[in-house]
Amino acid sequence: MNPLLLFMIPFLPLLGGVFNACCGSRLPQRLVAAVAVLSVAGSFLFSLLLWPLGEGDGTRTVLFSWLQSGGFTADAGILFDPLAAIMTLMVTGVATLIHLYAAGYMEHDENQARFFALLNLFVFAMLCIVLADNLLFLFLGWEGVGFCSYGLIGFWYRKTENASAGRKAFIVTRIGDLFFAIALLWLFREFGTILIEQINARAGELDPLLLTVLTLLLLGGACGKSAQLPLMTWLPDAMAGPTPVSALIHAATMVTAGVYLLCRMFPLVSLSATGMAAIALVGVLTALYAASCAVAQREIKRVLAYSTMSQIGYMFLAVGVGSVSGAMFHLLTHAFFKALLFMGAGCVIHLAGDENDIYRMGGLKGKSPQVFWLFLIGILCLAGTPLTGGFFSKDQILLTAFARGDGFSAILWGLGVLTAGLTSFYSFRLLYLVFFGEQRQAEKGHALSPLMLWTLPLLALFGLFGGLLNLPHLFGGHQWLSDWLGQPAGVSLALGAELGLLLLMLIFFGGGWLIAHLRYRNYPGDEQAGWRSFLLAGWQFDRLYEFILVRPYRTVCRFCWQGGERALIDGVMEGIARLCLHWGGYARKLTTGQVAFYLQGFAWGLLLIVGWFLLSAVK
């Protein structure tokens, strides 16, 4: 197989995106959607076909040299190793389904060309992140997904809030990118190369302190993209975009880019104990924070957004406790069930007549049992119901954390288990509020396009049986994913301890479900207590940032403009000008316009000159 064929994987979506961007608006909408879907589907087929290239050490191939100067080289190059291969397959596969779904979801929108162009470009950029063999090419994708998500969040741009949400996402993630960029520059300074393979291979040469700094910088970058503390505020607002966008970008792919980056750089990251602890801590704190926020959300998509944030927290925790396979496992299962949940939410919103508030839904089970069952599968996975995909992946992470045995890891584990309980609670709360009880919405819903419905079962299957990917030995599995990634799970617990932990997980899951069942099985009426509004607003982090960052920034800008630019610099310059004018005023008085006055001047001058000559003659 020609390794250059690997470039077809990112280039097909690019081609589709550029085609739709250039001439999509002049073509029939169906054709636009078809081009978009086919290009991503083609890319999926290619990644299936080229799967063998990813075995072992993988394949590296370079198309052309992007930037080359003074000892610096950045290629448009692909590194297709096991990690990249599995991620590519997931991204293209889920993206194909979401594109299909979007073709149905956006049926009646006028601007499909723009939508699908951005969606395709997004897939291209995401694939750049996944496949890049050097950090700069990865950075291209990194910023590319940022832009596409900006464009897609603000897709319905006539409402200023949507556009603002897009801008917030772009700028907040760019603050994270800043750290990533510095790490990138620093790595080049140390190694003289930005090839991922080489950096990972030579990471051991670095000073431990520098390693920690670099890890923290990479973590900063990952936090921005993956909406982790403290750069998480953009994700809930990003739900302003169309639902397929939320599914693709803010659940399945882009937000996991941070986790992927840390996995990609794991050989480097893992060398710094402090850095790893920081990653795990950020992860588990975000998981807990987001789960607590999800408990009080009112909009269906915001619940899912916070749950995404929380689940990605788990993935960070996995990386932090040293289990790349755990992180990737959870990333894959999460991608399936979260895409399912988001697209299910899209169906729900359609059914409820464009209603977002779960307190004004209810009783949708009767309206569309099919959506209910699919959504239920998603919820079960999210809540970590035993034997679903989400259960196994989450369990592996917590097991790994527990198995480390030290006090810090124990705290991490404890918080993780607590979060699992919360997750179960808010998942079922969502389910009960939306599907059970009386119908509360006023609007009549509209019918679902078949494209929307028939893409979901596939995801549901993957979500339910995703656990088979990495089934632990306890359940008779072979941990295929861990082997594929070349990371056989180093966890070895006594059988009793493992079973005990499973039981504990089961208790927390059951507890969460039970509380949700008792409180929300029958509609409890609108609830807006004080602590709820605090959680609803995401612990008021937006307010806080507005106060300590945004407003001071505006003030500084205004000060620079009015104080620095206008008053100081221009003031000094104009002051000099006025001084000249002032002194010129005196000289001006000499110009009387009277000929006689000038002639007098001549005469005096003449006298002076003559006098001068006479004096010199006398001497």
Binding site: F64, F147, Y157, L178
Partner: protein, 495 residues
Amino acid sequence: MTASVAVQFPLLSLLLWLPVGGTLLCLLFRHSSNLCRWASLLTTVAVLCLSLWMGFISQGGGGWLFYEDAAWIEPFGIRYMLGMDGISLLLVLLTALLQVAAILISWEQKEHPAFFYALILVMETGIIGVFLALDLVLFYLFWELMLIPMFFLIGVWGHENRVYAAVKFFFFTLAGSLCLLLAIISLYLIHGGQTGEYTFALEALRQTVLNPGTEMILYVGFMLAFIVKVPLFPFHTWLPDAHTEAPPAGSVDLAGLLLKTGVYGMIRFAFPLFPGAAERSLPLLAVLSLVGIFYAAWVAYAQTDLKRVVAYSSVAHLGFVILGLAAWNQLAWEGSLLLMINHGITTGALFVMIAMLSDRAGTRELERLGGLWSVFPNLSAFFLLFCLASLGLPGLANFSGEILVLFGTFKAHPLWGGLAVAGVVFSAAYMLRVVQSSLWGETKDFPRRDDLGPREWLILIPLALLVVLLGVYPAPVLDFLREPVSLLLATGGMP
């Protein structure tokens, strides 16, 4: 000096004086604006074709790609000395390209079209002359020749506050130029006194032996002229005013070309002539450019006029360019020069677009714009593209230069590089603000509701293609820069 001259015909002179020919044609046909604009368009296109052809036939290598030398004013040792290396070639190409855009964007010029086009063409000669001259007097001549047409373009065809802007522009740049003139003459006299050979030739003057004090004074004289032109903080305040008041073509030339002459002057004249002083000044240059990057980004965020935002973004970008020069290594220099060319195209395109946009919307005030996308989808798409390039999205033009600058700078001075990266976030802040308040939101009432016309497509498509091409595959440009830059760094640019 070994000149690898491919063709004996004085191509450089032809290139240089072609626009003046166009000027004469314009003045000849001054009664028919139609003839005038066609004459000027054909002239600029001819210059573009000629420079492209010269790019094709020139082989790489460290020497001058083209070189001309003739006696001019013998008694004072002034020679007509022109030379083109890779850097000059790229800058001349940029000039030729943007001038075509400048003519096309002012196609409908109503007031005194003949003189308008004539001035633009004269300016083209001035700018190309600056990029080619190797004799200091010749250089100074062209340096001032750029100034005068610009003064009139702003002062006569500008907007409401044009006289203030024109005078401010003139005084700032003239004050700088006078320092330059004094320094040139002093250097000439010192060199003549030392060797007995009175000459203004760059190559000869490089051999002058200077004591550190004198060297620093002369260097400052040179640098003042160039820094004002670049413009570096805190000498930049003329730029936003000039941009705001200038007619569209003037803004394009100002941002795309005039600013570049300052950087070019530094690398071609100031640094090679006074290497010792240059080396001592690098930290100061770096500090000024860093302050400029942040300060300009902040001030840009507080602006309400579209043109002013872009003008301040120019200050920030040129800050990156100078920072790269101050890092003083191959990587950063190539990045700086690449960024300079990229910035010329991006910002030139942005000013072109602002002209089209304000023609239709009837205003440049951000608060009175909004929802442009629903009325002018094509125009808005192009505008978005150029804004993204300007905020440094990878894969588009500015990024390729910026990142090389950052790599080079960080390699030499991690602190400078690290700080400069932060500037990128701020550039996103003000650029997105522009996009937000112009393209998105509710559609306001606009006097015109027609999307791009054929002439506008013609301007924008090549610029857009270049923006993408320079972002994705800047290798051809970097190839032209490699040898000259390493020569400049090693021996001050002499082959």
